[in-house]
């Protein structure tokens, strides 16, 4: 999201929060969120894909709602209106092609109306079929989860993205020489897919409350949190939507404070640090150990201010319309150990992984009684962090980053168990020193982990780490 989009979001949120009540507030948020999915989508080199990618997002949202909602729920007035709003916005975005000489909501001119109507028609058929299947076969939900994971894998893997781009280019008669893994930049799909998987999984386990289409769709593509999270829970989000909300002065001030802090973090601190933060080019250019540490520190703070700044902005804007999005960061670099760091860094992702992977994985592995407890823990930590790494991208470096943290969590857990019974520090000064030492150690452990995250190859990461310790 750029500044223009952020300020437009603030303004529309203010208007909705101040004037819209009840159903009209929900429908307004739905319309704005669908519109934002198109407007926020970055440019992609494939013709009209900046229109089709958000359309696919919306299609996935609607189809998942159909297969997770109660039978016949779609016939209710509220859901029919919701469906009409969604289709209406998609068509409205497409109609800008005929109204304005230059595209205003999409980066390129949207496709012809007949194609969009054809897409809606086909989407309708697909939704009807999957709706019918889901009523008869329980596996439909699992298939939907698997499909989302496959799309996520394709988008996150540079190799698979490139192959997909080549395929699309071949199908659309475009030169494959210029195919790139960046051709399929799908705005917010990491977040959209995790929200959808959460809903599908909760449906499977019978924990999903009934949500209307407007509530569900707004939850998945909610405009403040579309591009950078946080990953809320559907029932909590719907609870906020259903509450009567009137934007008060106090609420506006609190939201405003949060937005200003977020803007400062992102556009002043993070963008300034970006000029000197570690990247593939600087990794080979930096000449001395001291400067390499400074460049790494710059990256360490840049990624924090960037991400937490966007989160603050999202939380602030959401607050203007009565949605209290969950916190994603609680001063992670001031935590005395890596477990606490992960309890305060990208909290909603960690919680999601804990709920839908770590806990089930632990329950499953405990079935193998022959495996020692420490091995179970190691496997659990490694697998979880491996998955978090993959969520950021299917590359060796993201996997290494995940493994680095998995090992860190395991070692910290073992040390903590060991120290609990053997090392007792009663002196308050020693406790303070120990805590400061823990904070510094954790901070540097996280910072060293960012080397893998920031760079694209294990070789350059290794070179940087060696240089950081004065070895090369």
């Amino acid at each position: 999201m750029g500044l223009t989009q952020i300020f437009a979001s603030i303004l529309t949120a203010l208007l909705v929060g101040a004037w819209m009540r009840g159903t009209s507030r929900i429908l307004s948020l739905l319309a704005l969120s669908v519109l934002a999915a198109f407007w926020f989508q970055p440019a992609v080199p494939l013709r009209s894909f900046d229109f089709w990618i958000p359309s696919l997002s919306i299609f996935l949202v609607v189809i998942v709602w159909f297969i997770t909602s109660n039978a016949g729920a779609w016939k209710s007035r509220q859901n029919l209106i919701g469906l009409a709003v969604i289709i209406g916005v998609v068509i409205l975005v497409d109609l800008t092609r005929y109204i304005f000489a230059d595209p205003i909501l999409t980066t390129t001119t949207p496709p012809r109306l007949i194609l969009v109507i054809g897409f809606i028609f086909l989407a309708g058929i697909a939704i009807t079929v999957s709706n019918l299947l889901s009523r008869r076969f329980v596996l439909t939900l699992s298939l939907a989860i698997i499909s989302l994971i496959i799309i996520l894998l394709i988008l996150k893997s540079p190799f698979l993205s490139l192959q997909a781009s080549i395929l699309f280019r071949t199908l659309t008669n475009r030169p494959i020489e210029s195919a790139s893994a960046l051709d399929l930049r799908w705005l917010g799909f990491s977040y959209i897919s995790f929200r959808l998987i959460h809903v599908l999984r909760d449906k499977q386990t019978g924990r999903l409350p009934e949500l209307s289409l407007p509530e569900f769709a707004t939850y998945v593509v909610f405009f403040p949190s579309l591009s950078a999270g946080p990953i809320d829970r559907a029932e909590r989000f719907a609870g906020d939507l259903r509450k009567e909300f009137h934007l008060t002065q106090d609420e506006t001030l609190l939201a405003g404070q949060r937005i200003v802090i977020g803007l400062f973090k992102k556009f002043v601190l993070a963008d300034a640090l970006a000029l000197m933060a570690l990247n593939d080019t600087l990794a080979v250019q930096v000449r001395t150990t001291g400067w390499m540490w400074i460049i790494l520190y710059a990256y360490t703070f840049q990624i924090y201010f960037d991400f937490s700044g966007y989160t603050d902005i999202a939380i602030g804007i959401a607050r203007l319309v009565g949605i209290k999005l969950p916190e994603n960061f609680t001063s992670p670099y001031t935590k005395p150990n890596i477990t606490q760091f992960w309890n305060s860094w990208h909290i909603t992702l960690t919680q999601w992984i804990r709920s839908y992977f770590f806990n089930p994985f632990n329950r499953w592995i405990r079935g193998y009684r022959s495996i020692p407890a420490w091995t179970m823990l190691l496997l659990g930590q490694l697998a979880t962090m491996f998955l978090i790494g993959l969520w950021h991208g299917v590359t060796v470096n993201f996997i290494l980053w995940g493994v680095w943290h998995g090992l860190g969590l395991f070692i910290q857990n073992r040390w903590s168990d060991f120290a609990k019974t053997r090392i007792a520090v009663s002196n308050p000064r020693a406790q303070t020193l120990l805590r400061i030492g823990g904070i510094l150690l954790t901070f540097h452990f996280a910072a060293l982990g960012w080397v893998f995250f920031a760079l694209s190859s294990p070789a350059s990461s290794l070179n940087v780490i060696l240089k950081l310790f004065g070895i090369t």
């Binding site: 002065q249 001030l253 000197m276 250019q285 001395t288 400067w291 390499m292 400074i294």
Partner: protein, 366 residues
């Protein structure tokens, strides 16, 4: 603590912004550019900040104070045994596509030469964009830093009258231009519309935000500059200087039947050469002499033969009359030793130039 009320907060914030915005006008005479982390926290730059590519850890800003404050010259205390040489010129002196070690100043310094029993240290004060007035502006400021000798490399492209206010650094420094015009009695109009005279409104914080952002960015680039020593983006491939030309013998609005001297800004060069008692060596810098299509009409992209030949005669006569040390090195460098322009040299081309200039510096006291 009671929660503050929204509208008083908004009102106060707006008022403070308005007051701050207009109070900021008071800083318009204050040389903000002189506030710099270079030469204090970061080492000074070997050449002026210039560039539009973030990968070069550099940027162009049109604030001479900030440019000098970032330069190593300002932070270098002059040792008793230092023979300080400053090099004035355009992008060829600045060193487009050349590292600080490869450009003229770098090559002169690597020669470890001495002059007048002192160690020669050359400082690169070249700056891209070709305009004599810009070079005079830089020279005027540089004289504050105790040079023992100035080497002023120039070329015909700097001389057309219409080019003098065209350099962005000049256009955005109307006060300095005014001072130069007064101090050097230049026949130029200080109210020329090409100069960006700021109004009071232009001096507000809101309107100067880009200048301020550039000043801050320059300081931030101090980190990667210090960490890498890189101040320019070096592309792997670039378009080589043109060697085939249209059959066109025009050069700006210069007419062949009128004396060239009347049509060029020789008076600006003259003012600069007489600005100080410090010796100034004038160098007609090497240009690409093409043997390609229509090379009988043009030497290169910049110059038709007739204009350049006349220019050389004019410069030669002028320096002889004025008794100014002069090196005419126009054809010193072979055609293949130019990079992306008819005045940008390869490291080898630069070494040929450095040899000649070095000899003059070395033999200066003799």
């Amino acid at each position: 603590m009671p929660t503050p009320r929204l509208f008083p907060v908004l009102l106060k914030a707006t008022l403070l912004l308005v007051i701050f915005n207009f109070l900021f006008i008071l800083t318009s005479g204050f040389p903000l550019g002189k506030l710099s982390l270079y030469n204090k926290v970061f080492p000074g730059r070997e050449r002026f900040p210039f560039g539009e590519n973030q990968r070069g850890y550099n940027l162009s800003l049109f604030n001479l104070d900030a440019m000098f404050a970032a330069h190593v010259l300002v932070g270098a205390p002059k040792a008793d045994d230092e023979f300080r040489v400053i090099l004035i010129g355009d992008s060829s002196v600045w060193g487009t596509l050349l590292t600080p070690e490869e450009n003229l100043a770098g090559q002169l310094n690597s020669q470890n030469i001495s002059a007048c029993n002192k160690n020669v240290h050359a400082y690169n004060l070249g700056y891209p964009y070709i305009s004599l007035l810009q070079e005079l502006m830089i020279l005027d400021e540089a004289l504050k830093y105790q040079p023992d000798m100035v080497v002023w490399l120039t070329t015909l492209e700097s001389f057309p009258k219409e080019k003098q206010f065209g350099a962005p650094l000049v256009a955005n420094s109307p006060e300095r231009v005014k001072e130069l015009i007064t101090n050097y009695q230049l026949p130029l109009n200080p109210n020329d519309p090409a100069l960006n005279h700021p109004t009071t409104w232009d001096e507000t914080f809101v309107n100067r935000r880009k200048d301020l952002a550039n000043l801050i960015r320059l300081q931030l680039y101090g980190v990667p500059w210090s960490a890498t020593g890189i101040d320019q983006f070096y592309p792997e491939n670039y378009e080589r200087a043109q060697t085939d030309f249209e059959a066109d013998d025009s050069f700006y609005d210069i007419k062949q039947n009128k004396p060239l001297r009347e049509q060029l800004s020789l008076d600006i060069l003259d003012a600069g050469l007489h600005a100080t008692n410090i010796p100034i060596v004038l160098v007609n810098e090497p240009i690409l002499v093409s043997n390609g299509k229509n090379s009988d009409i043009r030497y290169n992209f910049f110059y038709p033969r007739w204009a350049y030949d006349e220019f050389r005669v004019m410069l030669s006569e002028y320096t002889a009359q004025q008794n100014i040390p002069y090196l005419d090195l126009w054809n010193l460098v072979p055609m293949d030793e130019f990079t992306n322009s008819g005045v940008h040299l390869t490291p080898f081309g630069e070494s040929l130039l450095a040899e000649q200039v070095g000899d003059v510096i070395k033999n200066f006291c003799e």
